[in-house]
Symmetry: C2
Subunit: 293 residues, 2 copies
């Protein structure tokens, strides 16, 4: 049976790894904070002392760490996964990483005979726990096919978007669309309030027509309720938009909507709200429109 590794047991990684355990797979896991592995060990997983220790015993190694720097460290740092990778191993990066970095790491891993599959997700902590994540995958078809049954333990809407990096491109597209929609919903609800109109009724009216979005339904309600418990933290949204704008710079293209959303997300983190849900973006609008006073 395929031996599975899992590196990075944060808000997303831990419930995703638990869903693999529940499906009957035996995992070898690593987390910087060893205590994070405890629920998995109770569920039958083994612990390794380093990412390299995971790679030595696993054919398929999932990685779910917070940013490009952390990914580089667990892959290519001292004791990193690259030190232990076997021939034909598949490394699956489920975090949000830049497409350029993904393609670079893919080339470096290929020199060792290993394949990198990029498979970032959408759906947040709730989706990770429920096993209902959207998974956007990039990589060679045979590797995708080998990992698919494992993806199916963690997610529901699983799309093989294209070659290596295509999953991260799709995730960047997701964040472009989500951030613009979030801004539009925040402006609409702020505008309604400034007109003295019940923003809750406006949301209700808009849900039935062409303005319908999941963001309007769920994040619009959060804005009305002032419920900014994450969800998806503003500082992670800011980080993802940093990736988007880095790629726009590299490609020489303009993404004015994403750039505007990124500026406002910077301001949201700047006022100390980086750990709130990113729907708190409406607070930035309210600040410069004078509604916070």
């Amino acid at each position: 049976m395929t031996s599975i590794g899992f590196i990075g047991l944060g808000t997303m990684g831990l419930p995703m790894a638990l869903n693999l355990c529940k499906a009957g797979y035996t995992l070898t896991v690593f987390a910087r904070d060893f205590a994070r592995a405890e629920p998995l060990i109770r569920a039958g997983a083994h612990a390794a002392m380093s990412p390299g220790g995971v790679a030595e015993v696993a054919d398929i190694i999932f990685i779910n760490v917070s940013d490009d720097a952390a990914l580089e460290a667990v892959l290519f740092g001292s004791g990193g996964a690259a030190e232990g990778l076997g021939q034909d191993a598949i490394v699956v990066d489920m975090g949000t990483t830049s497409p350029a970095t993904t393609r670079d790491y893919s080339v470096r891993l290929a020199r060792q005979g290993a394949v990198l599959v990029d498979a970032p997700v959408s759906g947040g902590e709730a989706g990770a726990k429920a096993g209902t994540l959207s998974i956007m995958a990039g990589g060679p078809e045979p590797a995708f096919r080998r990992v698919l049954p494992l993806f199916q333990c963690m997610g529901q809407n699983i799309v093989h978007v294209g070659e290596t990096g295509a999953g991260q491109v799709a995730k960047a597209c997701n964040q472009i669309a989500v951030s613009a929609t979030l801004l539009g919903v925040a402006e609409a609800l702020d505008f309604a309030a400034r007109q003295g109109v019940d923003a809750g009724k406006v949301r209700q009216a808009l849900l039935g027509g062409s303005a319908y979005s999941r963001i309007l339904e769920f994040h619009g309600q959060r804005m009305l309720d002032r419920n900014f418990v994450p969800g998806f933290k503003a500082r992670l949204h800011q980080k993802d938009l940093g990736i988007v704008l880095g790629e726009a710079y590299r490609l020489g293209i303009a993404l004015p909507g994403a750039a505007l959303a990124a500026q406002l997300m910077n301001a949201l983190v700047g006022i100390g709200d980086g750990d709130k849900d990113s729907s708190a973006l409406i607070e930035v609008l309210e600040r410069f429109n004078g509604m916070d006073q």
Copy 2:
């Protein structure tokens, strides 16, 4: 039985009036272009020679004209509806009008004992024909109750948002949310194409997650298919965003996302595409990102 008038038989007004006829109501109608009334007359409607002629015989007068200037002319111009309005008449403006103009006209009509209900719609020509429009209504509760059975012949999601003007505020909010979402979807699909990734697969991956919107589903597909047959014309979207930004100016608030979308919509109309569906906004992005060459 309540006598019903209908003024303005354009792309939206004609099918909406026909749905009232089909429900068994006898209408008195007026259109600048008399020939537009022909299908209604065949369905049993009477024609009047002026908006004032409609108002003389109708208790409830629907108006569906293209902008504030046309609304002022049919209401207060020579031969306008205001000349013929009876006591307790209800004027229902189903076009998209600025909230400030709506409140002004409401006061002017009240001097004659008439009530203005603002009831702009979302759903486009397809929704008007199918009787599935979203209707966002503002006005006093008793007037709304009197008009509701007629709204139910034209639409499905009917929300009484608040007092006079609140329907137009909701419509403005709708256009704020829709235009930002449209920009986000256009940027996402353009970004995917510039990365060499299949934009159709990206759309598919995004539909299953938090980026889902009706705009992504329907307008995203239009963008992929280069199908810009309206739908909702860019020049009307531009006009509606003009109302939004006029209100933002009047209120002294900043709507940076709506302002950006409005600028790009200006450019879309400027390149001669005002009669295309507003999802053609992606063409503006492609122009400055060099994909049109």
